[in-house]
Symmetry: C2
């Protein structure tokens, strides 16, 4: 699980959309100002959010984005995964030379990181976008 600004921005922007869901399409310019995130960067992020069917866009003047689904049906894990393709804590599988993924010497801590991944994911699986729009 990668936890970077990009993921954070994505969640912030989605929370902004959810908060303003009643106002029709929200432009990235608005979000950029409200959340203090560069417009060009937001565009990149929303490309991915759109590809992952989390938002719908309308182009042209007065265009913008709206949530594709109700905020109650969007899990934070959906958002994080959308912008950070990679979701593993650990690259045991990738670096075969590192001696972790061979059958004989599975690294001592392999199970540990598996558990950690689950632990973190369970957090993002539990929290819904809607949960962010209430009491804050």
């Amino acid at each position: 699980m990668k936890l970077t600004n990009k993921g954070r921005y994505a969640v912030m922007a989605m929370a902004d959309l959810a908060t303003n869901a009643d106002k029709g399409p929200i432009s990235l310019t608005e979000i950029s100002i409200r959340q203090n995130i560069s417009l060009a960067y937001l565009e990149q992020i929303f490309l991915k959010l759109k590809n992952n069917k989390l938002v719908k866009s309308s182009r042209g003047a007065n265009g913008g984005y709206i949530l594709e689904k109700p905020a109650s049906e969007i899990k934070l894990s959906n958002i994080i995964h959308a912008v950070n393709e990679e979701v593993k804590t650990l690259n045991c599988k990738k670096n075969s030379k590192k001696g972790c993924n061979n059958k004989f010497t599975k690294c001592i801590t392999h199970n540990l990181w598996d558990q950690l991944d689950q632990h973190i994911n369970s957090f993002f699986e539990t929290v819904k976008l809607q949960d962010l729009t209430k009491n804050n």
Copy 2:
């Protein structure tokens, strides 16, 4: 919380020490071979582990490292913190221009990342080094 190879290596090396605790000081050369981690990199890691009073060293031939405390008293969080000075998911406090830490517009997701930090930390607080030396 940063979760990188360095932290993983540190945990692996400490688990190795714990497993071989009865054999007197363990040299980094041994650990390097067993865990397949570069010696020079281990040296850097152990410098920090030592500064954080997690291991004791003895220099010279037949020297090496031993755990400073019983494995049952070393939490994984101790190890991770030792090698990754920085432990925050989030840099709300650092980037003051990013508009998160001012009193008025605390960013929507601020509480969320605080909770996440706690969630992850609780994992590392719970697991002890000793837990890694059993069933794996």
